[in-house]
């Protein structure tokens, strides 16, 4: 029985259960709602939940076991020599599954009868051609071992699916019957239903934990596979980034880290002064009118999707800088060879970060108690002296926190650097120009993650797997920055509340 039919049956059972449970409860109360312990619909939901929830849980668990156990059992029967010939266990399994799915489709379309499908032999039929006729394209010719595996796979899958249907249906019916038997006017069905809802709520809340675990685990596994073939020391302390999809690449992390930090520093050099001065002016000097107009307008800059900034860097800002600093440019200097550069991506990213720095700093400056300002004015200080010598020192931890948050955004930003910074990594040995010149192309961690994962490389090669190591490092880097920034901000907040 296929999963969708199973789900439909369970759903129907629950729906029937809802009305039956409700009716039975009312009947036991003699039609008088007032003598029921709970509302009539609670009795309905009680039956519906017991009919569906345990069955669905068993179904999910069964599926998980089935999709792991069956491939393992099939692979056990395949000789090691065959696995070595194809490459890896995963690849053999993929082939087996493809063939099995193809035969299933052929049966479903009526091209083969079930008997034919079971007796198909590589000696007599070219299975690949046969399946290609019905639109199933296979990557390679079907060997006898693979076909045998596929038949075994189909057999086992069918058996598991058959028993799955029976077990799940039995559980659903049992739940249905149990719930209906329990239904009585004194039964506390509201408590059961509300506990079930609470379980759902808890599950929803723990998705946040599972996401974090998923992020860490998914990257950790692939990173360990990467470190199997590439030593961690060579990765973390390597000073050269030269991926080569034919293998034997230099995948050093330092040039990428350098590019990322360089661009982030340029971005912060744009965003911090502008954002900080804007925040000071808005909170200390601006009239209410100006404040209510300028603040939301500045915040638009943070709401614009990063792809817009990326395209702006690529098609407008880069060529603009090239027109100033490039060959034959307006300034008569030849500093730039390409529109994409550290400074292009850095400045554009800085524009994006202005509202980050300004809104956060604005909140923090406003949190400084008015008494401190008044004290300073009372001593005869001007407004700017008050800002510089009283407010900023008091708000400094919070502002540093805001800047760190902006830095973590800058390090994790992808689209602007992909489109504005170029693809060549910094080179440390040739000339200072190749790693210090802000007008040079320089690539970053995020850019390389995108490039290595969307490239043409084999998935299991270190050139692709390095992306996961980069991703994990990026995750840790931004996490540390965020935790530290939040720690600073929290610590500061406590002082004045």
């Amino acid at each position: 029985m296929s999963i969708s039919y199973l789900l439909l049956v369970i759903l129907a059972l629950s729906a029937v259960g809802f009305f039956l449970g409700r009716a039975r409860a009312l009947q036991s109360a003699g039609g008088d709602k007032r003598s029921l312990h709970s509302q009539p619909q609670h009795y309905g939901w009680h039956v519906a939940i017991l009919a569906s929830a345990p069955a669905l849980l068993v179904l999910v668990a069964w599926l998980l076991v089935q999709f792991i156990a069956v491939p393992n059992a099939v692979l056990q029967a395949i000789p090691q020599s065959e696995i070595d010939a194809v490459g890896s266990r995963d690849l053999v399994m993929t082939q087996i599954q493809d063939v099995a799915n193809g035969i299933d489709q052929a049966v479903a379309q009526g091209v083969m009868s079930p008997d034919q499908a079971e007796n198909i032999r590589t000696e007599f039929t070219n299975v690949r051609d046969r399946l290609a006729e019905i639109g199933v394209a296979l990557g390679s010719d079907v060997t006898p071992v693979v076909l045998e595996g596929a038949q075994e796979f189909r057999l086992k899958m069918n058996a598991w699916s058959f028993w799955r249907g029976i077990v799940v249906l039995l559980i659903a019916v049992a739940g249905f019957a149990l719930a209906l038997a329990r239904t009585h006017k004194d039964f506390r069905s509201r408590n059961v239903v509300e506990n079930a809802i609470l379980v759902v709520l808890v599950a929803a809340a723990s998705i946040a934990i599972f996401t974090t675990i998923g992020i860490v685990l998914s990257m950790l596994f692939e990173t360990m596979r990467f470190f199997d073939s590439y030593s961690p020391a060579r990765f973390f302390f390597g000073t050269e980034w030269a991926p080569n999809f034919r293998g034997n690449s230099d995948l050093g992390f330092l040039p990428l880290l350098w590019g990322t930090l360089y661009i982030s520093v340029v971005a912060l050099m744009v965003a911090v002064p502008i954002g900080l001065f804007a925040a000071i002016y808005l909170s200390e000097y601006a009239s209410n009118g100006l404040r209510s107009v300028a603040k939301p307008l500045l915040e638009i800059l943070a709401g614009i999707p990063t792809i817009v900034y990326g395209l702006f860097a690529l098609t407008t800002f880069g060529p603009l800088l090239l027109g100033l600093f490039g060959q034959g440019g307006a300034l008569g200097v030849q500093w730039m060879a390409d529109g994409r550069s550290v400074i292009t991506a850095g400045i554009v990213m800085g524009i994006m970060l202005i509202p980050f720095v300004s809104s956060l700093s604005d909140d923090i400056i406003n949190a400084v108690p008015q008494a401190m300002r008044d004290g300073s004015y009372g001593l005869g200080a001007t407004q700017s002296e008050t800002v510089k010598q009283v407010i900023l020192p008091a708000a400094l931890p919070g502002i540093v926190g805001a800047i760190l948050l902006a830095a973590s955004r800058a390090i994790g930003e992808t689209m602007i650097v992909v489109m504005g910074a170029g693809a060549t990594a910094a080179v440390f040995y040739e000339s200072p120009d190749r790693y210090l010149n802000p007008f040079e192309i320089m690539t970053t961690i995020t850019t390389r993650v995108v490039a290595q994962l969307t490239g043409d490389g084999q998935f299991n090669s270190p050139e692709t797997l390095v992306a996961f190591a980069l991703g994990l490092t990026l995750f840790c880097l931004t996490l540390l920055l965020n935790v530290y920034a939040l720690y600073i901000v929290r610590k500061y907040q406590e002082q004045y509340v």
Binding site: Y281, Y285, I304, P305, T306, G412, T446, T454
Partner: protein, 446 residues
């Protein structure tokens, strides 16, 4: 502010002394810095908006030629029998265009090949599709509205000048001269480009035919997944954390997780989607929706990414409902669950909705994770044909299509990319405006 020093001579009471003047000048400077900073920020915003509108506006217009093509049975049979069908149809268009010019009284000594170069490569397949779909039209003369080639289109929009034409292999100055005369005769004109909003993406060689339709549909599919996923999960999680959660380690762990997830770079969610949904769950389930370039996977990734935003805003709305409402409900015998679902949640709904719309708008503009789960289709994207394709792909999305266009060599695609950005921003502005209106209309102060 500094140690007191005895002034040499008592300054006039009416004028400021030098030090006061200096301090006041520094005050003025400081204020000016602030104003300049705000002005730079606003100027950047204006520059950005100006660039977006200026570069993208033209994508909504397209140059087209009006050509009457006589559909003669023998010629069509001959074209259908030939090996290169579209080039045969292309010749038909060339002849028809030649006749059109003669009728308009435009004389030209241009050869057929150069003349047909004005028309887009798409025109021949358009003609063929029309003939195959409408066999009854054979024998009549049908008026067609063919796309002009991208460089001619660029000439109408000011992107291509005669200087460029002199150096280009794709267009010649004599073609531009002819086009000028054709424009006066009304054969060629620039009009609104509906195909950009609805049409499929085109190949690298014909930017004039590229459309944003599949991207809009793909984004819609993802937003459906995100809306269902993130709002249900987000609201359920917020209710638990805000109304039921005991203060203990587990709750703290969840809280810390949520605030950290909000700051994780979006590309990391892309890696998660690739590793878990596509590489792990995909082969395990054999499901069509859990594979590369499916909008469903894109939606799941964006759901996880949007969750923290929605949880944070939902919790704020729940917290804003006064305790007295809960006390009153509990007082008349409602259970805690009934209190929350019958009283607190409805009162918090406008705030939750506002926060959710803002979260969705954020997800709509996000591009980095989509690159990793394969929503950037190298080959042109086309509209889905059924519900399976709608979620299962191959799909693209608005930011992904914009990125795809930006990587193509022909700068005519930049215009399309900016046009796409205008459409994306229209959606974002609409959603944010809706959120603001909802907030203004339904916000309740207790």
């Amino acid at each position: 502010m500094t140690d007191a020093t005895v002034p040499a001579a008592r300054p006039s009471l009416l004028g400021d002394d030098a030090r006061t003047k200096r301090r006041q000048a520094s005050e003025k400077r400081f204020q000016a810095y602030g104003l300049v900073a705000i002005c730079i920020g606003l100027a950047m915003l204006i520059f950005l908006v100006w660039t977006i509108v200026g570069s993208g506006w033209n994508a909504f217009f397209q140059t087209r030629l009006n050509v009457s093509v006589p559909l003669v049975q023998e010629e069509i049979d001959k074209a259908e029998k030939g090996l290169l069908k579209t080039s045969a149809y292309r010749k038909l268009i060339g002849t028809a265009l030649q006749a059109e010019l003669v009728e308009a009284g435009i004389e030209t000594d241009m050869d057929d090949k150069e003349l047909i170069g004005i028309v887009s490569k798409r025109a021949s397949s358009e003609l063929r599709e029309y003939v195959l779909a409408n066999p009854q039209a054979i024998g009549t003369t049908v008026e067609f509205n063919f796309l002009a080639q991208s460089f001619i289109d660029g000439y109408f929009k000011g992107r291509v000048t005669r200087d460029i034409a002199e150096r280009s292999r794709n267009v010649s100055v004599s073609q531009l001269d002819l086009v000028d005369r054709m424009r006066q005769a009304g054969i060629i004109a620039k009009g609104f480009n509906l195909a950009f909003l609805t049409g499929n993406d085109a190949s690298e060689s014909s930017p004039e035919a590229a459309g944003f339709g599949p991207a809009i549909i793909g984004s819609l599919a993802m937003m459906i997944v995100v809306a269902i996923g993130s709002i249900t999960i987000g609201v359920a999680a917020s209710i638990f954390l805000e109304e039921f959660a005991p203060r203990n380690r587990v709750t703290d762990l969840i809280e810390v997780n949520i605030s950290n997830l909000a700051a994780v770079p979006s590309i990391v969610f892309g890696i998660l989607g690739l590793a878990v949904f596509i590489n792990y769950l995909g082969p395990l389930s054999g499901d069509d929706w859990l594979k590369n370039n499916s909008a469903f996977v894109g939606g799941l990734v964006l759901t996880l990414m949007t969750l923290p935003t929605i949880i944070i805003s939902t919790r704020a709305s729940l917290r804003a409902v006064p305790q007295s409402i809960r006390d009153a409900a509990l007082g008349v015998g409602a259970s805690k669950m009934q209190t929350v679902f019958h009283h607190v949640l409805p009162l918090a709904a406008p705030g939750i909705l506002t926060g959710s719309i803002i979260g969705l708008a954020q997800a709509l503009g996000e591009s980095a994770p989509l690159l990793l789960v394969g929503l950037v289709l190298a080959q042109g994207a086309s509209l889905p044909e059924n519900i399976g394709d709608f979620f299962g792909g191959p799909n693209t999305a608005m930011p992904a299509q914009i990125y795809q266009w930006s990587t193509r060599a022909d700068p005519a695609f930049y215009e399309r990319a900016w046009g796409g950005i205008i459409i994306l921003l229209v959606f974002l502005v609409t959603m944010n405006t809706l959120a603001v209106i909802l907030r203004r209309r339904f916000e309740r102060r207790w």
